[in-house]
Symmetry: C4
Subunit: 508 residues, 4 copies
Amino acid sequence: MSFTGDKRISGKEVAQHNSRESCWIVVHGNVYDVTEFLDEHPGGSKIILKYAGKDATQEYDPIHPPDAITTNLPPQKHLGPVEPDTVQKVEIKITDEEQARQERISNRPALDEILNLHDFEAIARQVMSEKAWAYYSSAADDEITNRENHAAYHRVWFRPRILRDVTKVDWSTTILGQRSSMPVYITATALGKLGHPDGELNLTRAAAKHGVIQMIPTLASCSFDEIIDAAQPGQVQFFQLYVNKDRNITKRIVQHAEQRGIKGLFITVDAPQLGRREKDMRMKFEAEDPSEVSKAGSGGVDRSQGAARAISSFIDPGLKWCDLDWFKSITKMPLILKGVQCWEDALQAYDLGLTGVVLSNHGGRQLDFARSGLEVLVEVVDKLKEKRGLMFPNEKFQLFVDGGVRRATDVLKAVALGATAVGVGRPFLYAFSAYGLEGVDKALQILQDEFEMNLRLLGAPTIKDIVSEMVDASNIHSHVVAVPGDRLYESNYESMQHAQLREVKAKM
Amino acid sequence: MSFTGDKRISGKEVAQHNSRESCWIVVHGNVYDVTEFLDEHPGGSKIILKYAGKDATQEYDPIHPPDAITTNLPPQKHLGPVEPDTVQKVEIKITDEEQARQERISNRPALDEILNLHDFEAIARQVMSEKAWAYYSSAADDEITNRENHAAYHRVWFRPRILRDVTKVDWSTTILGQRSSMPVYITATALGKLGHPDGELNLTRAAAKHGVIQMIPTLASCSFDEIIDAAQPGQVQFFQLYVNKDRNITKRIVQHAEQRGIKGLFITVDAPQLGRREKDMRMKFEAEDPSEVSKAGSGGVDRSQGAARAISSFIDPGLKWCDLDWFKSITKMPLILKGVQCWEDALQAYDLGLTGVVLSNHGGRQLDFARSGLEVLVEVVDKLKEKRGLMFPNEKFQLFVDGGVRRATDVLKAVALGATAVGVGRPFLYAFSAYGLEGVDKALQILQDEFEMNLRLLGAPTIKDIVSEMVDASNIHSHVVAVPGDRLYESNYESMQHAQLREVKAKM
Amino acid sequence: MSFTGDKRISGKEVAQHNSRESCWIVVHGNVYDVTEFLDEHPGGSKIILKYAGKDATQEYDPIHPPDAITTNLPPQKHLGPVEPDTVQKVEIKITDEEQARQERISNRPALDEILNLHDFEAIARQVMSEKAWAYYSSAADDEITNRENHAAYHRVWFRPRILRDVTKVDWSTTILGQRSSMPVYITATALGKLGHPDGELNLTRAAAKHGVIQMIPTLASCSFDEIIDAAQPGQVQFFQLYVNKDRNITKRIVQHAEQRGIKGLFITVDAPQLGRREKDMRMKFEAEDPSEVSKAGSGGVDRSQGAARAISSFIDPGLKWCDLDWFKSITKMPLILKGVQCWEDALQAYDLGLTGVVLSNHGGRQLDFARSGLEVLVEVVDKLKEKRGLMFPNEKFQLFVDGGVRRATDVLKAVALGATAVGVGRPFLYAFSAYGLEGVDKALQILQDEFEMNLRLLGAPTIKDIVSEMVDASNIHSHVVAVPGDRLYESNYESMQHAQLREVKAKM
Amino acid sequence: MSFTGDKRISGKEVAQHNSRESCWIVVHGNVYDVTEFLDEHPGGSKIILKYAGKDATQEYDPIHPPDAITTNLPPQKHLGPVEPDTVQKVEIKITDEEQARQERISNRPALDEILNLHDFEAIARQVMSEKAWAYYSSAADDEITNRENHAAYHRVWFRPRILRDVTKVDWSTTILGQRSSMPVYITATALGKLGHPDGELNLTRAAAKHGVIQMIPTLASCSFDEIIDAAQPGQVQFFQLYVNKDRNITKRIVQHAEQRGIKGLFITVDAPQLGRREKDMRMKFEAEDPSEVSKAGSGGVDRSQGAARAISSFIDPGLKWCDLDWFKSITKMPLILKGVQCWEDALQAYDLGLTGVVLSNHGGRQLDFARSGLEVLVEVVDKLKEKRGLMFPNEKFQLFVDGGVRRATDVLKAVALGATAVGVGRPFLYAFSAYGLEGVDKALQILQDEFEMNLRLLGAPTIKDIVSEMVDASNIHSHVVAVPGDRLYESNYESMQHAQLREVKAKM
């Protein structure tokens, strides 16, 4: 970081720049002039103005990488270090709700009582801030696709085999040529610090311990280098890329990633614009005076649309197939498209020589009524066999799926249907939001245990023994909606009752 | 308006004509002798007799166009203006329920907090009078078709495309050769003043602002000319027609509409008799003494059947295919049949040279277990391709769909399947019932925002890029009813519980 | 009735015969010695012993035809008339529950507020005795078939036609060559007096008024002749027959029916043993001391199994196809099998020259998981066309359906699929249980109104215009059971919330 | 049993060996040194240490056969009899919960009020200890398969026949050549004493009375010989085998079984590792301090995983197809594989000359999303007909099904589809947990009654008349998941209301 001077600025002086006309803030002990940046701030000017003339670090940290401010502000706006202990603190009142939340945190069950990935979500929902919960859990429109992602797994059933020697079972595999202890990777999710101060580093560290691969997100709240630096020697990491309208920025990011050892570049293609996530948006209204939110929106980016859209202004909606040649020209990393949703696009990716595709709908956060990755997988495997004679899983062109996974059985269904591996996102966020690094460690351990169990029960000593005949996916394309209920008939129907204890009967 | 004399009549004199034998009422300051009209009144004699000898304006306004009384009563029954301030007012007591409703109105959330069309309905339900809510929301019999209209959209899923330049997206289109800013029109719905004093004018004004087309209903509570007059120069409007048994009346209406610039005539063919809508009927019983309602019914039209049937006596159930030639002879407007429900009738409309059909079941308000327009669309597109080689959307023969639409994604599904545009009705009624003109404006803005987003996410720069391969409608004809539940088994099953906070556990 | 003497017996003398050793009871003013009949009584000895030495008329009436006792007891056990006012009354305590029920009866809504057949059931459930409700509403095992009967109609959807002249619509038809004002008949149901003192006579009288046909049940609580006598001149009635093990009894019943003018004999073939109806059985336990009930059961008929099984001991489980020739030899009435459940048996009935079959599962009261009559209808029509070239509806071999009907639309679906007419049972029981004769009259009027409406909306001027192309029954054979829910996932999912009023929000 | 000495040991001396270093316990009046066994105990050391130096009989009995301790401990650790009345009792506090449970037990309804198998479960759930309920009722992962087992029966519907002489009906059959009074056997389930002190003997005795066959489980809490000894002369029993890693132990068990007259050996092949059953696991945490549970787990077997996994350490996950020849070499008993889940494995069993297979998923307790036995049955019957020309039921190669059965109709569906007989497990456990031997007797009587009724209603005088044409199983492979609900739409929809009593309306 470079500063225009190294004189220390007094808190008193900072405090005078507390208006839209002249707005200084302190972050990590340094003073920044953000007056001209106010209207460009993806999160809106209002939130900055709240800290005008004051220390904004506490608000800044959970949603920005440390270097976000220095990267985005021109050097002349970096005014220098503040005199310690002179800057005005924004007094943060502990609300009753926050106090209740703190109590809930101290009442978390012991980690040993967590039996499955659902449990992390149940606890996280109670111990996270409402804002963080809303950002992580929300999805597009009516959240139909979000839930369909999980529901689709319930339409695939197992055909297990017996009397095979499963004394030793091995569920490790390779992903893009890299070893992984299981056919799962930690997929990219934004704003990790909303859930835990260490943010994405929790994932890096747990991934190292368990030999799984982390995909680093463009929108991490830790900086890319922090995450890379937290990795163990030899630890494999992938990188998820939002392509910037300014291709120079993109080139710099990509080449830096390659230089730091990233083993696969996952280019997000399902988010030319970030989705409307209404739970997240409603949370904004709860938190702030809605009329203010709305007024603030007049200057371009609409600040009323929650965290998701605030951070999306730099994504290029003009990205096209022909840009992929350019990517090949700037990096040797394997290129994978993240967010493919029909066989035609998977085929085109294959024909262009890419290394693979992630069949994903962005966790249900983009287009509602997009189909689940699992369903698209079946279609892609069928059609790429028909059109190009490909068999899956396939080393040359790898298929990935993400969204809705909660059990090792889910993963094994995708593997049986042709996926190389499955991305898991929210469950790990909930794990660290509830229990930090130990949570993610435990979540991975649960998956390991489930894999061991399920390989035995399927009669499959290794991942290669998980073949398509082991599942019945004939219902995968069935989108069933019940005929609306006959409310009059149903309200007249008297439900069957089983036998009752005598005293219960007496009371009736 | 013409009056038989211009002497002012005293309220005292009016008050003497307060019986079935001689019944005068005051509307908008004029006195009318309705004695002989009592038994012809579609809404029954009872409601008129309540105002016999008094001022009925307040009751009259929300459900009649201003000219209804002058049009329906012969001139000699128009007795002339009343002396101001002499007429007896019917004292309207503010009930507790009404007071509570007024409080709810003042507690409406700010319009900025309305995120989708569902929200208008949620607020409208709380701030409308029960009578108005019952009339707008009710549907036929068990309301199965009403809900199926929405549910059908959930059986169609997207197959979005990636890596297409969606920097600029354009969702405007043409409907019957007229520009529309989106593939949506405001369809005809009756009795707008039940929800808001400005009634249908709210729709006219918002439509002008957003460049969308309003279909004016025969049963508007504003008069046709009021609605036309409220339009901006060049603003496009369609007209929905109930065909009267007296074809001269119909001819006069149609030619007047053409003369006033109407660009399309939508002839309703699914309502030879207006449906039984039991919620609406029950509301009548709540409001009035049911035995009286029943007695009143003996004289022909049954007044117990709610607002819907009261206004239906003039619709001709004898309308036939061969009448369409007559329509062609009296107007040059494009003719569209509204309420077609199978391919056979769509084909016949095409063969007769009509301009299009609306695949509709009248918002579920007519025949219960009629299929959704969306489902019929799939059948019509298939069969008209097979029988006549037509491709859709088609400029020469346009298909429209209405019923159950709440999201731009719904509209885009219909467009992908071959519809030129989609009619939206109730959501706009709820919008103005909750927030007046600003509500409708916001509702249209929400749709605009959703179209922009969804075109990007679908990879479709324009409406023409929304093609049938972009949806999977293979489940559209599936009407699934679950096998009735095993209540004994289910009541015995102990549901899975996730991990619990310690104090919760202690309490259990 | 014949008596062994005509001396009047004193109540005092009767009172001495109050034990299992010598048991006299008084019914309708006459004394009977039932000592030897105790163990043969289908309803068990216990209930008789309760009235030993006393007047049992009040208990006797609702479940027996008046002549049941004289028919079943040999003449020498008819001891003669009792001296009036000397016989001991069984004091019937009005329980709190009964008092509450009487209040509910006086609070019934006016009949004009009843809008559909569901409404009768809703009121009947509240104003009937629990015992009567349990008997009427109960069905076999888990009552899956009972509910499926109604649900099956929800899998059939309409394809209505437009622009047909429906000014006049006519829904009358002929059934077995007899005129009926609608394609509906009142099917046979047992024990009418449980719901109303006039029992089945309510149905006879209302049927006369509306020109519909009543099927008289073998197990009526009015006597056959009472019901015949209550008919208007020329009123058509059918008769439902349980075939007795003693064919002489059956022959006498059949020939008596023919002699009294019955126009069709419906032989029940789905009840070789009457079903276990657990709601009805549980009601017995509620009402009586269960250990007593059980003990009483040791002597043959098990009295613990509710009203249904108590009355079933005389039905012949040995009835076979070859018996049908015998029926042809004893009567000229048209013979129809009631309770056919697959095409093979319908075909056999046709090949044997019968007049028709009722596709029925006995209202779900016999075999659980029997399919609905509507579903069987589709199969029968398909196969009899394939095997014998028959088209339906068919004058020579008529198909009927019953079970689960609540709306005229239900009836019209069956007619479109080939049924001549549809039997309706429970709704009429509920109608008279709630409102007596006027209830049944109203129920039939509701159906008339619904037929008029629906014929118009379907574009069908007459019943003959209701053809198979007017329905889509492609889902009729689909028995869908949802995959069991993922309770952990669902309990974690936070439901979408719509916009809220401000004060509601404040409270949350 | 042999002891190292016959001097009586004083309770005082025993009490000194109360630590991990030296741990003696008393069981059934004898002293054992279990110090070295602590870490090998499948149920963990913790539970033993609780009784160190004390009498452990009360804890020991419900989950161990009497000879478990003598079999597992080397003779030198059998220290001899304790001096009576000197040993320290572990005082067992009656908790409030236990007291409430005892009250519930005394309030059980009379057995006559139990109408079906569901009722036993309803009562058992209320009167069993939570631990026992958790062990019996729990299943794998999300318990989807567990519930699917029952649900699958709801996708199969009957096609009953009429006019067949069903005066006499006979539902007896033969299973592996042995007579059975019904096509049902009591399948193997573990730890019977958890539910009732007599454990599996309840089943043996009731089986004798009703002429049905009991399959004795390896993991019974009564010893094998106790169960054999409790049988009546000529009573047929089968044996379920978990194959031990030590084949000598297996050989000894198998040959002992044959010697004692076992008529069929059912080798479990679906449990190379016992499943994770989370309800059971959570119960452990409720009962004990979770951190202790976890620590204890470090030494090998994880004691945190409930009763199921604690007893599983001796099952051989290396069992293979080729081991079956060895089985043939050591016994002449018919060999049946229990837990086959696809046609390929059933075919292989047939080709290897086995006598049959049980199509089972272990009551949903092993692999979640395994299909129901009923569904697999349809596939196996189809394929073995196609591949080997087999027809079912088949004397030479018998198919069995278990899981989810609650009604005789369930059994008859399986029989119609080709099963020789159906295994029923949990319902009998619940029967004796609620009512002991009389409960199982009643449960079997209920099934007998249901078979009699259903054979009549199906028109099938004998089991051989139950043929595949009597069922429609066309939906059996349909795994339907509803599209996630539109919560906003649904919360806006106002449900239909039926007519209301006047006073109810007043209150609203």
